[in-house]
Symmetry: C2
Subunit: 93 residues, 2 copies
């Protein structure tokens, strides 16, 4: 089982890059997008955006599911809530 520190650190790391936050906010605004959409938002190369999406997915902040040759990504709100809750609680007690 993972400590709350480690969990906070993993999510915070994912949120510690401008591009990733931008991608996340864009997805949140639109509901769901494809990786191609994210490339347009980020204005960076396809491999770079692919990498950032992977970081967000690994952190649990994004859910990705394949749909033909596309990958549809959306925000995992539960994980996001868990994170804000964990930060609030652990830093206030």
């Amino acid at each position: 089982m993972k400590s709350s520190e480690d969990h906070i650190v993993k999510i915070a790391k994912a949120l510690s890059d401008r591009t990733r936050v931008r991608i996340l906010q864009d997805i949140a605004k639109r509901g769901s997008v494809t990786c191609g959409d994210a490339i347009n938002v980020a204005c960076l190369s396809q491999p770079t955006v692919s990498h950032h999406i992977k970081v967000l997915v690994d952190a649990g902040l994004l859910i990705a599911e394949k749909d033909g040759r596309h990958v549809i990504i959306k925000v995992n709100k539960e994980v996001l809530d868990e994170f804000t809750e964990l930060v609030s609680v652990s830093a206030k007690r």
Copy 2:
């Protein structure tokens, strides 16, 4: 004026290191501590801990005030709330 992205990124960066989260949680638990106390918690060199505290202070997460030769640090709950609120809102709309 700073974008919400930049604000999130700055705080998230501060929270993206195990040592810093540990220090923050320890301070939250105890109310307030000195830098020396933080060194004991982190088990790292004094300059390293000093650096981490600086990062947390610069991000606004800690408030530091000098008291003789000590520096008393405590959590800035307002900034922390602001952060969790910002993350919640910006990633859900």
